[in-house]
C-alpha cells in the first residue's frame, strides 16, 4: 500500500502501543491573496474577449448584425434599469428552477432504480433513450399543446431535458459503488435504506453531481425552448420580440447575455453545492 511508504519513520522497536506520527493538517484552501492572483487571468481573458468582439464588430459590422460591445453593454444596463428585462428574467428563472428540481428528482429516482434492477433497466431504458434521441425542439410544440401556454409546459420541457443526464449519471454512480463496501454494510446488517443513505448515495455523489452540472445548464436551454413553443413572457420570448418585432439588436444581445449569465449562475450553484457535499476526499 502506498500509504505505508508515505508514513513517517516507523520505529521497528515498538513501544507497547505505538502512535504513528500524524500527517500534516490539510491545506485549508486558497488564501485571499491567492484567490486574488487567480482572478487576474480571468480579467485578462474577459478584456481580450471584449476586444475581439469590438474588432469583429468594426470589421464585420457591415455584413453581419453585430452591435459593438459598448452598445450592448449600455443596452444591458438600460434594459435592467427600465424594467424591460427583469420580468422576463424572473419568469425564466422560475421555469428553470422548477424544471431543474423536477427533472433532477425524477432522474435521481429512476437512475437509482435502474441501477438496482436489471429487469427495470431492460424494460425502461429503450424508452429513455428514445425520448432522449427525439430532439426536445421537435417535442416542445406537442408538449405546449398538451400542457397549455402556462408555466406547466415549460417545467415539463425543462424537466425532460434535465432528466436524462441526471438519470444516467446516477445509474453509473450507483453501479460503480465498491462491492467491498456493500459487503461490509451487509456484514453489519444494514437495511436496504441504510445501504442507500450511508453507502450508495455518498459513493455515487461525485458522479451524480457531474450529471447535475450538465443538467443545470440544460435547464436553461429547456426553459428557452419551452418559451419558444408558446409563451407571452420569458427571456426566450424577449429574444424573439427583440429580433422580430422591435428590431432592437442590442436588446437581443443583452437578452442573450442574461440567458448566459443565468446558465453560469445555475452551474456555479451546483459546483458550490458539490464542493460542500463532496468536499475533502
Amino acid at each position: 500500500m502506498t500509504g505505508d511508504v508515505a508514513r513517517p519513520a516507523d520505529p521497528a522497536v515498538a513501544p507497547v502501543r505505538p502512535l504513528h506520527p500524524l500527517p500534516a493538517p490539510v491545506d485549508p484552501g486558497p488564501s485571499l491573496s491567492r484567490s486574488a492572483l487567480d482572478l487576474w487571468p480571468v480579467a485578462v481573458a474577459f478584456v481580450v474577449f471584449v476586444a475581439v468582439w469590438k474588432v469583429a464588430a468594426v470589421v464585420a459590422g457591415l455584413g453581419f448584425i453585430l452591435p459593438a460591445p459598448e452598445v450592448v453593454g449600455a443596452r444591458f444596463v438600460g434594459a435592467w434599469a427600465d424594467g424591460t428585462l427583469e420580468p422576463h428574467a424572473w419568469t425564466t428563472l422560475v421555469e428553470v428552477v422548477l424544471g431543474f428540481v423536477a427533472g433532477a428528482t425524477a432522474g435521481l429516482v429512476v437512475g437509482y432504480v435502474i441501477a438496482r434492477s436489471r429487469i427495470v433497466e431492460r424494460l425502461v431504458s429503450p424508452y429513455l433513450v428514445a425520448a432522449q434521441a427525439v430532439p426536445i425542439l421537435a417535442l416542445a410544440p406537442l408538449l405546449a399543446l398538451w400542457f397549455g401556454p402556462g408555466l406547466l409546459a415549460k417545467v415539463v420541457i425543462c424537466g425532460l431535458i434535465v432528466f436524462f443526464p441526471v438519470a444516467i449519471a446516477t445509474m453509473v454512480g450507483i453501479r460503480s459503488v465498491d462491492r467491498g463496501l456493500l459487503e461490509l454494510a451487509a456484514s453489519l446488517r444494514a437495511t436496504r435504506r441504510q445501504i442507500a443513505t450511508t453507502i450508495e448515495i455518498p459513493a455515487a455523489l461525485p458522479s451524480i453531481m457531474g450529471g447535475l452540472r450538465v443538467g443545470a445548464t440544460l435547464a436553461v436551454v429547456g426553459a428557452i425552448v419551452g418559451e419558444w413553443a408558446g409563451a407571452d413572457k420569458g427571456l426566450g420570448v424577449l429574444v424573439n420580440l427583440a429580433r422580430g418585432s422591435l428590431f432592437d439588436y442590442p436588446l437581443l444581445f443583452a437578452t442573450l447575455i442574461t440567458i448566459a449569465l443565468l446558465g453560469i449562475a445555475c452551474y456555479v450553484l451546483v459546483v458550490l453545492a458539490e464542493r460542500r457535499l463532496v468536499g475533502l476526499r
Binding site: M1, T2, G3, D4, A6, R7, D10, A12, A14, R17, P18, L19, H20, L22, P23, V26, D178, G180, L181, E183, L184, A185, A186, S187, L188, R189, A190, Q194, T198, I199, P202, A203, L205, V278, G279, L280, R281
Partner: protein
Amino acid sequence: MTTPHRVARPGRLVADDIRVVFRPPSRGASPTVALDGLTLDVAGGEIVALIGPNGCGKSTLLRVAAGLLVPERGTIALDGRPIREPDDRIGFVFQEPRLLPWRTVAGNISYPLELAGWPAARRAERLGELLHIVGLEAAAGLRPVQMSGGMRQRAAIARSLALSPAVLLLDEPFSSLDALTRERFNLELLRLQQRTGTTVVIVTHSIPEAILVADRVIVLTPRPGRVAAEVRIDAPRPRSVELLDEAMVSRAAADIRSHLETGEQVA
C-alpha cells in the same frame, strides 16, 4: 446456581459438513465446488489460524461463518445457534480496510453503532473506548486518504470490535503490511484478544504468522476445501517473538508445510 469450573466460554463456532458451490450465471461455465465436507470446531476464546493453498476456500469459509454466504449443505453454529445471516456477535475484518472514504476515522469506527441505532451519547462513549484500544485517539478526525495502510487497518479492526462481538473473523488482515508492522500487529491482536476474550479465526498465507498467533493451525486441502490436518501450537501466552521456542516453531512449521504439500498431492 453457577458452576465456575466448567462454564463453556461463549463464542464457540462449530462448522458441520459445509459444502459451498459457486454456480456461474452463464450456462456454459461449470460450477466450482469451493468447500466440501468441511467440519471444524472452534472453542470459545480460542485462536485458530486457517492456512491453505490459494483458492482452497479459506475466505469462503469465513464468509459462511459471517452469515454473508449460505452454504449448499451443512451449517455453522455459534453457541448452538445456526448462522444464516450476518450477526452482531460476529465481527469481520476484511483483507482491505474497507473504510468509507467520505467519513473520518471516528465516523468509520462508529458506523456499526449508527447502523445498530445506538443513541449519540452512547456512541460517543464507545467510540472513545475503541479509539483507545487501537491507539488512534489522535487520528479520530482524519480521513482514510490521510492515513497509512497500517492506521487504516487499525481503524478497520476497531470498527469490527464496535459491537463487542464474541467471534472475530479476520481474512488475511495484515497481508498488505510490511513484515515488521505485520509482526507488531499480530502481537497487538493477541493483546487485544486477551483483553476481550473473543474467539478469533484468522485466515493467513503466512506460516510464521499462523504459529505466532494461533492455538491451533488448521491446514485446508486445495479446492474443494476440507480440513487436511490440524497442528497444535503449544506455546505459553502472552506470546512474544523472542519467547517462542525456536525448536518448537521449526517443528510446527515443518509439520504445517508437510500437510500443505500432501494436500496438494491428494488433489
